[in-house]
Amino acid sequence: MTVTAPAPVAEPEPAAHEAPRGLVSWITTTDHKRIGIMYAVTSLVFFAIGGILALLMRAELADPQADLLSTQAYNQFFTMHGTIMMFLFATPMAAALANYLVPLHVGAPDMAFPRLNALSYWLFVGGGLVLLSSFLTSRGAPDFGWTGYTPLSNAIYTPGVGADLWIAALALTGIATTITGINVVTTVFSLRAPGMTMFRMPLFTWTMLVQSVLVLLTFPVITATFVMLFIDRNFGAVFFDATEGGVPVLWQHLFWFFGHPEVYIVVLPFFGVISEIVPVFSRKPVFGYTAFVLATLAIAAYSVTTWAHHMFTTGAVESQFFAATTLLIAVPTGVKIFNWVFTMWGGRLWFRTPLLYAISFIVVFLIGGLTGPMLAIPDFDKHVHDTYFVVAHFHYVLLGSAMFAMFAGLYYWWPKVTGWMLRESIGIWQLVLMFVGFNLTFFPQHVLGLEGMPRRYVEYPEESGWQGLNVLSTVGSGILAVGIALFVVNVIVSARRRVPAGDDPWQGNTLEWATSSPPPPHNFDRLPPVRSERPLHDWRTDTVGVDAAREG
């Protein structure tokens, strides 16, 4: 079996300057791998900030009349928790994975636009800092919820600069995400290696392509909507002002036209992560590759037609239409569950941390997915709207998928990124604590919601009988936090006594495992021929082993 030299990459002469080192080398980098690492680390920092806000809110709710947080602080915390988790953790974590993996997956030397890539990262950092700066203003951070509904978010009901900083920050991160979307789409379309047809691309790259298309369709809409709100607040426009002929519910249409596809913008990359891990640890090709791709495309198309199921209670939307489209989208989403389960079915399962996290993801996502069609029924949705049932649903779908699949991906690709392994034993303890903590936190919230406990309330009546389940939920959040913290412990322990990973510790299928760990600048010295969606498996199981071929 022969290997091929990848197409040559022209590098500009560094002239008389030396290549930057140390901190400067990170600030000036245009290498997609370094940008991916910076994206991941920064997203995890924001994940920790958003998580601490959540823990404080859970502590408050353990007692019906606790005064740990003022009403104002509580409102600010749930607003910033949602905003940070959606815009500064889940979305950029997908960008982190895409930055690191897409060029490696398609056999490219870098992203199509490396400097735009760096620009998107620094805009994300800038947006994050601007958002956090709103805490330092005299009235504090905004307190109208991450959905920013008008008229609550207008200048009369939410005066002060905090809300303006929130808008400015989200405009910046919106631009950053859009730029990353452009980069991913262009990279996939124009930088694939020879033989890497579209239907041989790794499924993660497919999900990132479709996710990026969704980003390009929806993030410009929400960024423009934020600008409209800013103009309303500061320059006297009346887009959302009913007293002057504006339409407040227009905000909800525009927000959810972005907001529902955003769910898929967050979860599609993690579907891709699971679809890379499950076949490798089942020692089988993925079951139904084409069906998976078509289902992903169908999700993208359906997801832009379902937005107003978030607006049933306004009474101003065509409920039957949105109920139908929302129920329909469950079908291609369900296809993926079958893809994963039947890939494992009959496979030689290798129970290492990436697969264990992937199985946990499937369980958690299935529970969240089952309550989705329930909420698609308008009459049921009106009953539980703005209760903890909805909170439980979207935490199972969003946090469950993002968190378990993220750690699945971190444990899987960590050896490639660093060249050394994370400890399996700590990883398994982390998973057990996270799985128990997560379900203890969020499952009781289904019951609380059905019993009528509304979301976004700092207190609840002592005679309501809700305290027991709230205490359970708060204890669960503490266990979950300890579990997540174990990852940091694992990194420290594993870094002190490093176990070398080699280039391909899992016997992977895709091209990133054909290069060194960590990969060199511009990624590949040699590329194996691409004859299927598992080029490295084909290469390894042929006559020549990886190392011999690389030397050849």
Binding site: T30, L119, L191, V213, T305, P521
Partner: protein, 127 residues
């Protein structure tokens, strides 16, 4: 590229019946405009990709036989650049200024223009 234009245009075509049904069920303008915008965007992207495929129908990445032809350079990739960080700092300061204190937007604009200029000049040199 054959698959590329078909998938992009396919998403656009898929949404058209939803846009039509939605309009005649609701006569709601904002949602209909958004739903019409999807096919327009995706068919536009599909048409561009179709044009690219017609100009170069047999690209190395689309060969299914595993035979790899000799290739030209993939492209020029910058090794390091300070300008993206400068441009992002300028954009951040400008937007922060608009929200917090317009006077801060002025130096922000200065940094923004400097960063943009740096990137443009660098691009010219890379070419």
């Amino acid at each position: 590229m054959n698959v590329a234009w078909r998938t992009m245009a396919g998403i656009g075509l898929f949404v058209i019946p939803f846009a039509i049904v939605y309009w005649f069920l609701s006569y709601e303008r904002a949602g209909t405009v958004l739903l019409v915008g999807i096919p327009l965007s995706m068919l536009g992207l599909g048409a561009y990709l179709l044009g690219a495929w017609r100009r170069a129908p047999a690209l190395p990445e689309d060969r299914t036989d595993g035979v790899v032809p000799a290739q030209d350079e993939v492209g020029v990739f910058p090794s390091a650049s300070i300008w993206p960080a400068v441009l992002a700092a300028g954009m951040t300061l400008t937007v922060f200024g608009f929200a917090y204190n317009p006077w801060l937007a002025l130096p922000g604009l200065g940094v923004l223009v400097t960063g943009l200029g740096g990137m443009v000049v660098e691009s010219t040199r890379l070419r």
